[in-house]
């Protein structure tokens, strides 16, 4: 019978929900009318009576909700009601609600944006078949002394060996990045080209968007070179021409047939760049036949492999050891001391990026933690002021679980709004990223986007945040003895419940302090790097144009002279020079020449590889490279003149033990060395990387060392950015055959050299500032809450004669104790963090006292400022009012 009634009641409330609600409304209104009738009888006017009846009834909506709840809704209905109720509570405290939502949006938004970056550079599987089982191969040289020995690519000949002689591999593919000049209606255009082994497309298991990917044998037998376009190139360069497949296009070097268009998002194994065209090696060598038998020492290809069915990576590694030994026997000059190593590609991809990614993600996680504790504190405060409501509901039979569910629902409402805000923020941050990217002259392929993976991450972050910031306060807020709470005021006096909040704030302060210390260290690193002597004037206004010129011998030299003359005549230009490279080229130190030590016998393995540059006579003057001894190159050092060279101090000391070497002879080359007279000694500089140890360096006269890809340097007394387009145009006019591969200002070029440091400093600085900001809000909230709880106590103390200054000081002291505890803990945390980022620091100790002290001061001052507001409010407490409130 009772069960039946219960079911009926529930069914009724569920099936006829609106009728049920209307009926409830009618009943409650009847109650108020009846009460009003009585009051009228007692002599009130009707208006007065109705008003009083409403007041006596209490919160109408609240009792209606509670009644509905008591009548037993379904879970979904309860949820809906909780949602509505939650929204109402939040609307009633708009300040707390908006601070919580904004905090959450900032915390989760930063995490979402950073996760999408990490996903783009590292986590997201490559868009190829079975990316998890791709094996990456590297060729490493044991005891590689010179940085030039540290390249890990392979030559095409080695690729062929790897393909034939490692049975554990089902197939092996090779890829290398080059540039290809394409003739378009708008003139020559440089495209970033992936030169790939003929089996590349089959190997990657890729399907074209348009056309057909030719098989390996087809490519080998093709009469003319084959070109495969990326989706973007097809759209941008060819206007999305649907009939592009089968068309011939003019490429510098010859004709090529477009065979296919790859789908958007395909980029082979590349993560950081987005190749614009793909050319099989067989096609490439039709344009450059001299590359057919490229020496084994030119290791430009990246090699990938897939295991044969049943074979293991360990078997492959063993077979690679054998092959490496065989190769160093057969080709001692190229392969002595080198061996192939293999690892799952997913594990090896870009180690430097991985470290930075983990670091930044961890920092962002810490910021989210701070945001969550802030919200937890806010909710604690909000819930504290609702104790009476909770108590009432418990008294009316609501279970603790019911209240918990209510509170979690409120959190979920907050989280949903926060996550929505976070996605908007993240989307915006991601659109900012390309603007922060350095101008490297080719399309950077960072593929950052908010896809299902990122959404999943955000959802998880949101749920975790709710659990963290909702459940903790909910647990303590619902632990209510109804009797106790009903009798008490809105919240119990004294300082109960504060410890949890204080722990939160101390944790926030600690994390912020540690973060800011890390930021300080990275910023100091950046400053050190920027103040570092580079060995040339890297601060002058100049433009750099890397150009390709298709001449040889005297014609080439005449072309160079014509170009520099033309540049010097540009309005605003000061001087011009041509060099093979400038320091900090994209390829690092770049190519090397082998130099023999005095007395060393020429042999296949003799000498040391040294980075080198081929420069014209103006280079030392234009780039401002100090010459310590001797002279610069000049008119005497022509093609027909005696071979000469300039060495840097390190090379001089390495070879002769002294830098007084002008007039001595230098042998360049391994087996048939060329004698060159040293005419000058140049100041040591940085060449490949700002943090490199001092490297030996060799300068040759451009006139005696033909280079067809060079960098044109034009200095100006005015804006380099303004000069850039004029300079580019002037090159085209002076030499229509020359291709401008890349053009940028020296300032941009130098920014690139310190780009990683800049990004690391920028990221930690913004996250650190966000953390400190959130922490200040948190501290403010806790102290303010403390003051409002102690209003009565403070009133009493003042009434008993406490001076206002004493009260002010006692509030500030509360804040200071928290701040100092947090700072001390944070310093400890920073010691550990500092060790973790040690590799990224330069010229600054991980426990640098200046940074530690400075950051400590900043956090302390911020804390004092945050505590100041509530402390001043305490001052304005009127003892009489405070006492009367009781």
């Amino acid at each position: 019978m009772r069960l039946l009634a219960s079911i009926r009641s529930i069914l009724l409330s569920r099936m006829h929900r609106t009728e049920f609600r209307d009926e409830m409304d009618e009943e409650l209104r009847a109650h108020m009318n009846l009460r009003a009738d009585d009051l009228v009888l007692a002599g009130k006017t009707r208006d007065e009576a109705e008003r009083q009846a409403r007041v006596e009834f209490g919160g109408y909506e609240r009792w209606k909700e509670a009644s509905h709840e008591a009548a037993g809704g379904t879970v979904g209905e309860n949820l809906l009601r909780d949602l509505r109720f939650g929204l109402r509570i939040l609307r009633r405290s708009p300040m707390i609600a908006s601070v919580a939502i904004v905090t959450l949006a900032l915390g989760i938004g930063a995490n979402t944006a950073i996760f999408s970056l990490v996903d783009g550079v590292w986590l997201r599987p490559l868009p190829i078949a079975d990316p998890a089982h791709l094996v990456a191969l590297e060729s490493v040289k044991s005891r590689a002394a010179a940085q030039s020995d540290q390249e890990t690519g392979s030559s095409y000949a080695e690729f062929a060996d790897l393909r034939q002689r490692v049975p554990a591999f089902a197939d092996v593919a090779a890829a290398d990045r080059r540039g290809v000049a394409l003739e378009t209606p708008n003139g020559l255009q440089m495209l970033l080209c992936e030169v790939v082994s003929d089996n590349y497309f089959t190997f990657m298991g890729a399907q074209p968007e348009l056309g057909r990917l030719p098989s390996e044998s087809e490519i080998e037998r093709a009469d003319s070179p084959i070109l495969v376009l990326s989706h973007k190139t097809w759209k941008r360069v060819f206007g999305g021409d649907p009939a592009i497949v089968g068309k011939n296009v003019n490429v510098k070097g010859g004709l090529a047939t477009v065979m296919a268009v790859m789908p958007a998002g395909f980029r082979g194994t590349e993560r950081l760049i987005d190749p614009q065209v793909y050319v099989p090696q067989s096609s490439w060598t039709m344009w450059s036949p001299d590359e057919l038998n490229a020496p084994r020492t030119i290791r430009e290809f990246e090699i990938y492999a897939r295991l044969r069915q049943g074979a293991t990576l360990d078997q492959a590694k063993a077979q690679l050891q054998e092959l490496s030994a065989d190769l160093s026997n057969s080709y001692p000059q190229a392969n002595a001391g080198r061996s192939f190593i293999a690892e799952w590609q997913a594990k090896t991809s870009n180690d430097g990026m991985k470290v930075i990614s983990i670091l930044v993600l961890a920092i962002a996680g810490a910021v989210l933690l701070i945001a969550c504790t802030n919200i937890a504190n806010l909710l604690l405060a909000l819930n504290d002021s609702r104790r009476r409501e909770f108590a009432m509901r418990v008294a009316l039979g609501a279970t603790r679980g019911r209240l918990l569910r209510q509170l979690v629902t409120e959190c979920a409402v907050l989280a949903t709004l926060g996550v929505a805000g976070a996605l908007v923020l993240a989307e915006w941050l991601i659109t900012l990223v390309p603007k922060l990217m350095p101008d490297v002259g080719f399309p950077l392929g960072f593929d950052f986007r908010i896809d299902h993976r990122v959404l999943l991450f955000t959802a998880v972050a949101g749920v975790v945040s709710v659990l963290l910031c909702g459940l903790l306060p909910a647990r303590s807020s619902t632990r209510i003895s109804p009797l106790e709470a009903m009798r008490a005021k809105a919240w119990p006096g004294g300082r109960a419940k504060m410890p949890a909040r204080k722990v939160f704030v101390v944790a926030q302060l600690a994390v912020s302090t540690a973060l800011l210390i890390a930021t300080g260290l990275l910023v100091r690193t950046l400053l050190n790097l920027e103040a570092m002597k580079m060995g040339f004037n890297n601060r002058q206004n100049a433009v750099l144009l890397s150009i390709g010129v298709n001449y040889q011998g005297p014609q080439l030299q005449a072309e160079f002279n014509a170009l520099t003359d033309r540049m010097r005549a540009l309005p605003g230009a000061k001087d011009a020079s041509i060099a093979r490279v400038v320091p900090f080229a994209d390829s690092g130190g770049g190519a090397t020449k082998v130099v023999l030590a005095p007395g060393e016998t020429p042999s296949e393995t003799a000498g040391m590889p040294v980075w080198f540059n081929s420069v014209d006579n103006a280079y030392f003057r234009v780039m401002d490279v100090p010459l310590m001894r001797g002279r610069s190159f000049d008119g005497r050092d022509a093609a027909a003149g005696a071979p000469v060279a300039i060495v840097n101090q390190t090379l001089a000391k390495r070879l002769f033990g002294s830098d007084d070497v002008v007039g001595r002879s230098l042998r360049i080359g391994r087996q048939n060395p060329l004698n060159a007279e040293i005419v000058g000694v140049a100041y040591d500089g940085k060449y490949g990387d700002v943090t490199e140890t001092q490297q030996p360096y060799l300068y040759l006269p451009l006139a005696q060392d033909d280079q067809r890809e060079v960098t044109l340097i034009v200095t100006t007394s005015e804006s380099a950015t303004a000069l850039l387009p004029a300079a580019r145009k002037a090159v085209q006019q002076a030499s229509p055959d020359a291709i401008v591969l890349n053009s940028q200002t020296l300032t941009d070029h130098m920014q690139l050299a310190t780009y990683t440091n800049r990004m690391a400093a920028w990221l930690t600085a913004s996250l650190g500032a966000l953390a400190l900001f959130l922490t200040a809000i948190g501290l403010y909230g806790v102290i303010a809450h403390g003051v409002s709880r102690r209003t009565h106590e403070i009133g009493v103390r003042m009434a008993l004669g406490a001076r206002r200054a004493t009260v002010f000081a006692s509030i500030l002291k509360d804040g200071l104790v928290l701040a100092l505890t947090g700072i001390v803990l944070g310093t400890g945390l920073a010691f550990m963090l500092g060790r973790g980022i040690g590799d990224m620091l330069y010229g600054v100790n991980p426990s640098d006292p200046v940074t530690f002290f400075g950051v400590g001061t900043v956090v302390l001052v911020t804390s004092v400022l945050a505590a100041m507001g509530p402390a001043r409010r305490a001052l304005s407490i009127e003892p009489l009012n405070a006492l009367r409130e009781e």
Binding site: M1, R2, L3, L4, A5, S6, S9, I10, E23, M24, E26, E27, L28, A30, H31, N33, L34, R35, D37, E56, F57, G58, G59, Y60, R62, W63, K64, A66, S67, H68, E69, A70, A71, G72, M392, V394, A395, L396, G397, P482, L483, M486, R487
Partner: protein, 113 residues
């Protein structure tokens, strides 16, 4: 402080059952009756009555019908079900036991121990 006492949690149900046991009543009437039978010593916030009523209906202890009040207003009337009457009896006995025990405990003198 006035002479009225806040209702102990859980006791509202018992009061409602008792009030209704004397005859069908609408919500407002129940409030008046509680005031009357307790000598106006017990204070119930008016709206707080309704969640209790709805819960008792759901538990099958009360049944309802719509009717007309003495001053001709449409109102919902509550009366006890059989189960409700049984529950009232049980609860009253258990309450009396509690009160007796409490009273004897509070009245105990040191020498009686």
């Amino acid at each position: 402080m006035n002479e009225q006492a806040q209702i102990l949690p859980g006791t509202l149900d018992l009061l409602i059952l008792r009030a209704v046991s004397l005859g069908p009543l609408h919500g407002y009437g129940i409030l008046l009756r509680i005031g009357q039978i307790s000598g106006n010593a017990l204070l119930v916030e008016q709206g707080a009555l309704y969640p209790g009523l709805f819960r008792l209906v759901r538990q099958g202890l009360l049944k309802t019908r719509w009717g007309t009040s003495e001053n001709n207003r449409r109102a919902k009337f509550y009366e006890l079900t059989v189960a409700g009457r049984k529950r009232l009896l049980e609860e009253t006995q258990s309450w009396n036991r509690l009160v007796a025990a409490m009273a004897s405990a509070l009245a105990a003198q040191p020498e009686e121990l």
